[in-house]
């Protein structure tokens, strides 16, 4: 297996504390052109290089391999901080960290040595998991099948966040025995085509579009036996949900900070308010106070969910897995509710001037609405309720062979 990472002058972060400080520095730089990137649907090539060079994308590499071995709380906080500045850039590393964890969970020692070195050199992981047009969102038609001297990978993926700017793309596929594997393929490998066809209303610069995989040659050393995760208790899945939540919590804060900035800069009160200045409007103050308190509660919930992951650690039992999934899911669902409320109330509290398209204040709602529909908010809450009332653990998302509308498996294993 050959290296895919171009020589980037990457800093190696040594501690959690340093990671948080650098995240704030990077976020300040990302914020400068966030509106223009969103407006122009600009591929954030330079921004992702900056992120790589900052060392933030390697913070979860274990200390035993030269990384910072950052806590889950720190990784979530880094994504939250980046997402306040630009949630598209904040979302891009979500899969990246998840697929580092996949290696940590089920990679061989040789795979860990190789990929951790790549990450410390600045490598970025994209993703190619989901597929369209099947009976279930968990269906998969992509196959990794053996040839004489290795494997060939074939399939078409969508929602491939990060793939277009990645060095490596972890691809979910079924092997000849219908087991779920991850094949880490080079972005520039023959047969890999990533299309810039993402056209969503929000999170525009994630470029979460199509990836075609046509007879891509894969070596055994690139294959992670991901199915093993589903046969033992693990926090892998809740970790992914938690990082999604961190993105949404960041958007919520960005919307509230813009709301406060606008109210401060706005002199006159809203039409109908019998006061001289906007800041003396009692209804505005009451509603704003409510939103501030809700955001603080949301941020505390995210932090608590992340710390729960750290407290549980790498050898959870089934109950701990359920607790972590429930807390991460709660944070994600609550982020959607609170964030959308703030992103909408921004306009109600600041008046018509805030709807000027040049300010792009609609991006908060568009970004959160787009990202949060990744899964159903109501079912996240349902999981919390079912766990609380009946002790029913959330089910984990196991991918399977593509089915037709009747739920019958399509195709056959070779």
């Amino acid at each position: 297996m050959s290296n895919a990472t171009p020589a980037r002058r990457q800093h190696v972060i040594g501690s959690d504390r340093e990671a948080i400080g650098i995240a704030y520095d990077v976020a300040a730089r990302l914020a400068r052109e966030a509106i223009a990137r969103d407006r122009d649907r600009r591929l954030p090539h330079d921004e992702m290089d900056m992120l790589s060079e900052s060392g933030l994308l390697a913070i979860s590499v274990p200390r035993s391999h030269g990384g910072a071995g950052a806590s889950v709380a720190t990784i979530a906080e880094v994504l939250r901080i980046l997402s306040v500045a630009d949630p598209a850039i904040g979302q891009l590393p979500q899969n990246h960290f998840v697929f580092i964890e996949a290696i940590a969970q089920d990679g061989s020692e040789a795979q860990k040595d190789f990929f951790y070195a790549e990450l410390l050199a600045g490598a970025r992981f994209g993703n190619a998991q989901a597929e369209r047009g099947s009976g279930s969102a968990l269906d998969m038609a992509t196959r990794l099948l053996p040839t004489g001297d290795g494997y060939r990978l074939n399939g078409t993926k969508y929602y491939c966040t990060g793939a277009i700017l990645a060095d490596w793309i972890p691809v979910a596929a079924l092997d000849k025995d219908d087991r779920q594997i991850l094949a880490y393929v080079r972005r520039d490998a023959p047969g890999v085509e990533v299309l810039p066809d993402w056209n969503a209303i929000g999170q525009r610069t994630t470029f979460s579009g199509t990836t075609h995989l046509r007879d891509v040659a894969v070596e055994q050393s690139q294959v992670i036996p991901h199915w093993q995760l589903f046969d033992r208790p693990t926090l892998f899945h809740s970790f992914g949900v938690l990082l999604h939540a961190a993105v949404d919590v960041g958007i919520a804060r960005a919307a509230l900070e813009d709301t406060i900035r606008l109210i401060r800069s706005r002199g006159r009160p809203r039409l109908g308010a019998p006061v001289l200045f906007a800041v003396d409007d009692p209804h505005l103050l009451s509603r704003l106070g409510e939103l501030i308190v809700r955001l603080h509660g949301l941020e505390a919930l995210l932090a608590e969910a992340a710390r729960l992951h750290d407290r549980i650690g790498r050898s959870p039992d089934a109950t701990q897995v359920a607790e972590a999934m429930v807390m991460a899911g709660a944070a994600k669902a609550h982020a959607e509710d609170v964030g959308l409320e703030i992103a909408s109330e921004l306009f109600a509290l600041t008046g018509s001037a805030s709807t000027d398209a040049a300010q792009a204040l609609d991006r908060h709602w568009r970004n959160l609405r787009t990202h949060s529909v990744h899964d159903a908010n109501q079912w996240r809450y349902h999981q919390v309720g079912a766990w609380r009332v009946n002790g029913t653990a959330p089910s984990l998302p196991r991918r399977r062979r593509a089915t037709d509308k009747n739920g019958t498996a399509k195709g056959s294993a070779a």
């Binding site: 900070e257 800041v279 106070g289 809700r294 509660g297 309720g385 009332v389």
Partner: protein, 113 residues
């Protein structure tokens, strides 16, 4: 003889939610999807209030117990309406005044901490 201080509303809300859950189980409604959704939302909001009430001081130095009280008050109000639990001690007018005070503080202070 000392007088026991009243429990923080976050603690009161936890007790009230526990009672609501028990009533739901006792009433044979533990599989009702609508009620599970409602309990899930309340549990989530209460978890947020609890995280604000007892934060990890090393990570989040701000004392937000007063803000947690406002969140808990809303939860208690919903528990009273939907599950017949006791009403919160904090009156609407007082809660409204505290929200205004917090907003005023942030509008006149520096960055949102």
């Amino acid at each position: 003889m000392s007088i026991e201080p009243a429990p923080h509303p976050v603690v009161t809300a936890r007790t009230a939610l526990d009672r609501a859950v028990e009533a739901l189980r006792g009433g044979g409604l533990a599989d009702n999807s609508g009620l599970l959704l409602r309990i899930g939302r309340l549990e989530t909001r209460l978890a947020a209030a609890e995280a604000l009430y007892a934060p990890d001081k090393a990570l989040r130095p701000h004392d937000r117990a007063a803000e947690a009280e406002l969140l808990a008050t809303d939860i208690l109000r919903d528990l009273a309406r939907d599950f017949g639990q006791p009403l919160p001690a904090l009156a609407l007018a007082e809660q409204d005044a505290r929200h205004r005070s917090i907003a005023h503080q942030y509008l006149t202070a520096g960055d949102l901490p």
